[in-house]
């Protein structure tokens, strides 16, 4: 696994990619509006979301015994259950199962958990033949790329890109028509389905009450890989449990709507065990690998709630940062707002602390999350952790520590603010600053800075109160009177004058102080 370049480089590379920008804009816009329509058609959607959130929180609060119960049911259904503390262990278990069953050819349905454990390279190194069968993941595999979105893995590729990849890697005619390309994939992968020995899937949900794995797909590859090969292995994160079928119904109502705007995906498959004697298809052996890989550590802390994520991708589509930088910039399996919490949670904060910092905390993610995960709260918590345990830039640290010291000391605060104001105003031309040094340089990299006022609000207010007292008039407030005593503010000035933006030099040069503001004397 090659080293991941630093975050700032990943961001720059993504921002510089105009095609990516267009693709992301188009795709996230489409998914957002489809989600909105789908939720408009969901009766009592608020209650459904509340119930789903409640179910997840209940499971997490009781996870150990839920896992045990789940295992009991699975075993009773004839499923062999394995436990993997780490990603490597999960991969090792898959390999062991494959060897035990004399498996050589493997077909995989989409599974983020196996992305997380880097399963494919491990299987390939051991001489196994592994083919991804989800169309997007198949292209990713052919291209030796990584998926960039939870639901649409190749959101970052154009149709021309896909055609070129397929032409190069599997020698099909060059085409850029999505339907033709999908047809090539169908033909090629059908061969793979028919001759595969083992199918590997993830699991969207595990239903505790019945010992059922639930797979949610649109293409049918999830069905193919769990129907035709003689062995089925499902790798499931331990947090994916839901208590009952009734709960599953809630989640099914939310997942497709949140992910693609469909009421339900084409195929929802509930799997309870291997084929029974007399069945004509279905695997002879079914295995479930319960994966920890850092989830128990996440559960122990402030961000436990994130384990309620159902991997719908709605937060990605709503996030203006994701829309700007795409999935690869997040550097690991899970991109977007959920990734900014899960990646540090599973891999450790060290080396990943930039992810939770790269957010404006706008809250669009929380608004669309089907289980109402409070992502901004968790991002803030991770930032707090970062300050506690990681190195932060010295300038920022000193600056904010100084802030903490002077904020409760009004006189000092005013003096410091006045000094800062003077410094900035000294650099202003026509009321604007084009370049600042240090941390301020971050501001002026992308925009000008409006020069601070010559006088503060408090100074103007105090002056006004004093003037009113001196002249014996009451500043302003006779109730609602248009012709009341007191100085009325001046007539409507030109819009540009209101805040200094857009004033011509001549207009601005008018008052004392020369900066963007109207001097206090002209106001009431």
């Amino acid at each position: 696994m090659s080293a991941v370049p630093p975050f700032v480089e990943r961001v720059r590379s993504a921002l510089g990619d105009e095609r990516l920008h267009v693709a992301l804009g188009r795709a996230t816009e489409a998914l957002r509006s489809r989600r909105a329509s789908a939720f408009a058609s969901l009766e009592d959607s608020d209650r459904v979301r509340d119930l789903a959130r409640k179910a997840k929180l209940e499971v997490l609060a009781d996870l150990a015994s839920q896992l045990q119960r789940f295992e009991e049911r699975l075993v009773a259904n004839g499923v062999e259950v394995h436990w993997a503390e780490t990603g490597e262990e999960a991969n090792r278990l898959v390999l062991e199962i494959a060897r035990r069953h004399g498996v050589k050819r493997i077909v995989k349905s989409k599974s983020m958990a196996t992305e997380e454990t880097h399963l494919n390279p491990a299987l390939e190194r051991a001489g196994m033949d592994v083919v991804e069968t989800d169309l997007g993941e198949y292209i990713v595999q052919l291209n030796q790329d990584r998926p960039s979105h939870i639901i649409l893995p190749i959101i970052h590729l154009t149709r021309e890109d896909v055609g070129a990849v397929m032409h190069r890697r599997i020698q099909v005619p060059l085409s850029d028509d999505p339907r033709t390309l999908a047809g090539f994939a169908r033909a090629k992968l059908r061969e793979e389905f028919l001759r595969a020995d083992m199918g590997i899937t993830g699991a969207n949900f595990g239903v505790v009450e019945t010992g059922t794995i639930c797979l949610v797909t649109n293409e049918g590859n999830g069905r193919m890989v769990t129907t035709l090969p003689r062995v089925h292995v499902a790798v499931m994160g331990i947090e994916k449990l839901v208590p009952t079928l009734e709960d599953l119904d809630l989640f099914l109502r939310l997942l497709a709507r949140s992910a693609t705007g469909q009421k339900i995906t084409t195929y929802t498959t509930l799997l309870r065990g291997p084929r029974r004697p007399g069945d004509e298809c279905g695997p002879e052996a079914m295995h479930v690998i319960l994966l920890d890989n850092g989830r128990s550590r996440l559960l122990a802390g402030d961000d436990a709630e994130i384990l309620g994520c159902i991997r719908c991708g709605a937060c990605l589509n709503a996030c203006p940062i994701y829309k700007s930088i795409g999935g690869h910039a997040y550097g690991d399996t899970y991109p977007g707002p959920v990734g900014a919490i899960v990646t540090p949670g599973l891999r450790g904060l060290h080396g990943w602390s930039e992810l939770p910092a790269a957010s404006t905390l706008c809250g669009a993610c929380r608004d669309v999350c089907p289980v109402r995960l409070d992502i901004p709260r968790m991002l803030l918590g991770l930032r707090r952790e970062t300050v506690r345990t990681e190195k932060t830039p010295l300038g920022l640290r000193l600056g904010l520590k100084a802030f903490g010291w002077i904020a409760p000391r009004p006189k000092l605060y005013r003096a410091a603010a006045a000094a800062a104001r003077r410094l900035v105003r000294a650099r202003a031309r026509e009321g604007w600053v084009r370049r600042l040094p240090g941390l301020g340089g971050g501001w002026t990299q992308a925009r000008d800075l409006r020069a601070p006022a010559a006088t503060t609000f408090q100074e103007q207010w105090t002056h006004r109160q004093q003037t009113a007292r001196a002249t014996g008039s009451t500043p302003g407030a006779s109730a609602g009177g248009a012709g009341g005593a007191g100085v009325r503010r001046q007539q409507a000035h030109k819009p540009e004058a209101a805040s200094g933006a857009g004033l011509t030099p001549a207009e601005r040069a008018g008052g004392p102080g020369g900066a963007a503001q109207h001097p206090p004397a002209r106001r009431r």
Partner: protein
């Protein structure tokens, strides 16, 4: 005569946009509210809080709580993000300190973001608010999603004769300010700014209005950098301008 109110003017208004504070004062007085300004207020601590420096944020917060607890009545705040800080985040900051958490809870109950209050009381405002303007409204994220204030600013704009609301694509998308994010991630911030300004330009507006000075500085700074002369204004300034 209405009840006196306290103005938590915010540090940005004090240092960078005093005219917003003055406009807010005039609006409140027109509604009959005598305005008090606790002069010891400094900063709500949000920059430190969002950056993860929670001890420093608490230091600022305790001071604000002391200053505001020494007053009575409604606390009016001309900033969605600062209002959200006091209304929601202070209690989280003092999660483990019962005494301060209670103070924070009491203060939270007294806070009103300016447009919230104005919209509720607008019927009492002298009639005749008039201004010819095509306004692009930018709902700041903390105001919109943090406080749930969606309609108040729009109602206020609609109450001004002559104001038309321009349709801005992806209107509710974050402008990219995000406090310190604007300086720590200038490239992403800049990209988001570009998108927002492009949408504003496409809307045909001649004026850009918001309720958060941070967003306004970011947006105005971007317009200035682009050389675009679009007027940028806090909602309080527009209403103040429109009233006879």
């Amino acid at each position: 005569m209405s009840d006196p109110v306290q103005l938590f003017h915010t540090c940005l208004v004090n240092e960078i946009g005093p005219e917003v504070g003055m406009a807010a004062v005039r609006l409140l007085e027109r509604l009959g509210h005598p305005v008090g300004v606790p002069l010891d207020q400094t900063c709500c601590g949000q920059p430190a809080y969002n950056a993860g420096f929670h001890d420093e944020a608490r230091s600022a917060a305790r001071h604000m709580l002391r200053v505001l607890s020494a007053t009575e009545g409604v606390i009016v705040i001309p900033s969605g993000s600062c209002a959200d800080m006091l209304v929601h985040q202070y209690e989280l900051l003092f999660r483990d300190e019962a005494e301060w958490r209670e103070k924070a809870h009491a203060i939270a109950g007294r806070c009103r973001e300016l447009s919230q209050l104005l919209a509720e009381e607008w019927p009492r405002m002298p009639a005749g608010a008039r201004l010819r303007a095509r306004v692009a409204y930018h709902p700041s994220c903390h105001l919109l999603r943090g406080l749930g204030v969606r309609d108040a600013p729009l109602e206020l704009l609609r109450a001004v004769e002559g104001v038309t609301l321009a349709e801005v694509e992806d209107q509710e998308e974050c402008c990219g300010f995000g406090g310190l994010f604007s300086v720590k991630q200038p490239e992403i911030s800049g990209r988001m700014l570009e998108r927002k300004l492009a949408a504003v330009a496409a809307s045909g507006a001649d004026r850009l209005v918001s309720c958060d000075l941070g967003c306004l500085m970011h947006l105005a700074g971007g317009l200035r950098r682009q050389g675009v002369g679009l007027a940028v204004q806090h909602l309080a300034e527009l209403l103040d301008e429109a009233l006879p």
